[in-house]
């Protein structure tokens, strides 16, 4: 029992306890939207790893702080000073070295994930995405037609070339986890391989003026047959659909 009253033991217990509870919350609640591209899993895993480490770091800081407040609080009329501890080289070396190692590890891991999600794949479909205040246009290069909606075939790797006509816009479908700015005068690009059928929304995420918050476009991930049907219709309605909305 007396060991439990030891402030060092308390810090250890609270750190593990708070860290564990927070980790369970982080991992069990679906904070992120469902993932619908091949980039989803590696990014979500990286996020979860960072989040769990963070939970324990935060738990450690809060535990030391709370235990200090409880144990070392000044009693009424106590005018004494604390122990004149000026430092501890070993301890300072530890809390310099451990975060440094953790950070380098996180950076290496992030670098590997980055290489993974930006990998060039075979049989990639080319789509040119053009942003202008306040609408998106999608040009399917191989089939040579334009549309105001983005339809994608499930499982096909896409390479989007992003262009902006006026100011900077940004291409983001939260379910794909991928984002890149469309910049006037520059050809930027982004690779996405959708993996889940469904209707999503492409939202502009770079402030682009008055209509910024409404600059969205529907995104549909579907099977080849459904896509072909839509593409045929879209080609027919080219003038009606493309370049407007």
């Amino acid at each position: 029992m007396s060991a439990l009253k030891n402030p060092y033991v308390q810090v250890g217990l609270w750190t593990v306890g708070i860290g564990a509870v927070l980790s369970v919350i982080v991992l069990s609640v679906p904070w992120l939207p469902e993932d619908a591209s091949t980039a989803g899993t590696p990014i979500d895993t990286l996020y979860n790893v960072l989040a769990v480490i963070s939970c324990f770091v935060f738990a450690l800081v809060v535990s030391i702080l709370m235990v200090s407040v409880v144990h070392f609080r000044r009693r009424h009329n106590d005018l004494s000073d604390g122990e004149p501890i000026h430092g501890n080289t070993t301890l300072e070396a530890i809390w310099t070295a451990i975060p440094a190692v953790l950070m380098v590890g996180a950076a290496v891991y992030s670098g590997l994930v980055l290489a993974d999600i930006e990998e060039t794949k075979a049989n990639t479909q080319e789509v040119t995405v053009t942003g202008q205040q306040f609408a998106w246009t999608f040009k399917y290069q191989s089939q040579n037609f334009k549309a105001g909606e983005l339809h994608l075939v499930n499982g096909t790797p896409y390479h989007f070339e992003l262009r902006a006509k006026d100011v900077i816009h940004s291409f983001w479908v939260p379910e794909f986890r991928m984002k890149k700015d469309a910049v006037p005068g520059l050809k930027t690009d982004i690779r996405v391989t959708p993996t889940r059928n469904g209707r999503y929304t492409l939202a502009c995420t770079e402030l682009c003026g008055l209509g910024h918050s409404t600059m969205r476009a529907p995104v549909v991930v579907e099977n080849q047959a459904a896509f072909d049907k839509w593409a045929a219709q879209a080609k027919k309605n080219q003038n009606l659909v493309g370049g407007t909305s």
Partner: protein, 674 residues
Amino acid sequence: MPPMTTVAAAPHHTPTKPKRSRARRLLLGPGFVRAGWMTVLGAAFAFGLVVGLRALQGFPVFKGSPIVTVILIAAPLFFLVGIGGFDYWAKYIVGSPTEPEDHSSHGAHGWKDYFRVNTDHKVIGVQYTVTALFFLLVGGALAEVMRAELAQPGQQIVDPNTYNGLFSVHASLMIFLVIIPIFAGLANYVLPLMIGAPDMAFPRLNALSYWLLPVAGIMMMASFLVPTSGAFNTGWTAYAPLSTHAPLGQQFFTLGVQFAGTSSIMTALNFLVTIITMRAPGMTFWRMPLLVWANFTTSLLVVIATPFIAGSQFLVLLDRSLHADFFQANAGGDVISYQHIFWFYSHPAVYIMMLPGFGIISEIISTKSRKPIFGYRLMALSLLAILVLGFTVWAHHMFVSGMFTWLRVPMMITTMLIAVPTGIKIFSWLATLWKGVLDLTTPMLFALGFITMFTLGGISGIMLAAIPVDIHFSDTYFVVAHIHYVLFGGSMFTIFAGIYYWYPKMTGRMYDETLGKIHFWATFIGFNITFAPMHWVGLEGMPRRVADYADKFATWNLIESAGAFFLGAATLVFIYNFVVSWAAGPRAPSNPWRARTLEWQVSSPPPIFNFDEIPQVVGGPYEYGTPGAVHAVMNGDRAKVAVGAAAPGGGEAAAAGGNGNGHGNGNGHPPAGG
């Protein structure tokens, strides 16, 4: 040319001078009357200049935008001349008799002295602080309107143009008119005292630096009045080419930043020279309080980085006004280069807005734990590490910008490495708490609140540094949450802590402790209700800077808005406490916290020239718990120190009891005794 008939050369020094009539003095002497008519004169001059030149060129004569632009440059300069910012220099330049030791504009003898050009660092410190608090209320009110609009999806209160103006002006005021200058204000007040100096190195430059601030703030606020255009609405980041094509309101940001930036740079130079050349005898760098170290580092950041934002906005100005086309892709300009220049300032700016807070927290944690700072030297060195690393990370704001890709990974590594010196600081503060005697009064509560909230802000910062995660998080509400955990939970908490901590010193009055605690807990709770859910909505897919959002984010947004109103109410408690305690609070003793640093060894508020005799520094600033250790030897105590040092403990009680007389200089015991 400014009038030279001013009587500021102190009539009471030279009573033989022919007396000028009161009206003439009012009209031509430095002050608001002269500033008023000179501002009008400046505006008229600008108007005439533009109209005249346009007429000569055969352009249509009356065009709003160039006229307003030149007025925004000329009128503030005329105002500064009018208020008296250049009087002494002007006399010196034209060869009029000047009096180098003229202290007539030094010190405050009544409230009116705070409304004129004053060269006393303590008056300027108060001017800065109160001005920044005014803009805090304005910026906060703008945020409340935003939260009211965002309480529900759809458009209820303001249109998208106004909304974009609200968040742009909110951020610009909070950054350039609140956080940066309030740190400069607090440091202005306490830093010369802490190093045992009678004032800052350049008191007149100091005064001019202050008066640039209201100019910048009023200019930014005035942008709401621009007909048809409204306030600048491209965010505080003002990315080109959105900003170069934006209507006239944008000019108020482009030029307002120049005045705020100039103020910042001049103050930083002043701090650097003051710290390097005006330390009291014995005050070596390794004996400086960490607040001084923090401001030394911050000032280096400011003088190196701030010219870059000035430059970026000048380029925008040239693009807007003269079609220079730096950022126009169709004319061969380069859009991304704006972001590189902008963030080369604006990332270090994050540290400009944080390092002085680190200094404040070190002072408070040490004093209120009655313990020396754990690892003092590493604390100072970690500031320098942040200074250096701070310049190597700017492009982490641009991971999805489409810039050349190779820079991303190196910048991710440097960004993550900044967590190391920052972690050192957090753990050193925690180790300082450990085995201390914690006095949980309001400054300490804010300091402890800061440690927890800033840790969260740091953690979300690491996530944003990881490129793949940032690709998803960038430009979402997660970033809004992160920046508020860093700048509100971080910087603002340190500012509140610092204001409460030095309130007795600055005003000579004690604040109300109960109201202070209510303010802390209400702020802490309101802050988390407001900003914590922003993490989740960001992860879920809500972009930032939107006046409207998808219905699925409605619940969290309503909770955030409720939190924001609660937070606003908490701030009113602070303002009430601040104002009422200043007017009617109990008189403050010279050293209510029994602190060791020099500013507490003089009366509250300190005498006009701080020290009757320059103190002799003989030890570190945080020697709590070491019997007989003394930071500095004050007036007349030199002989007594040898005796007093032998009697530990007694000095402490004497310091607490003996300081009630309101002037710590002549207390007759070692001021840092114990």
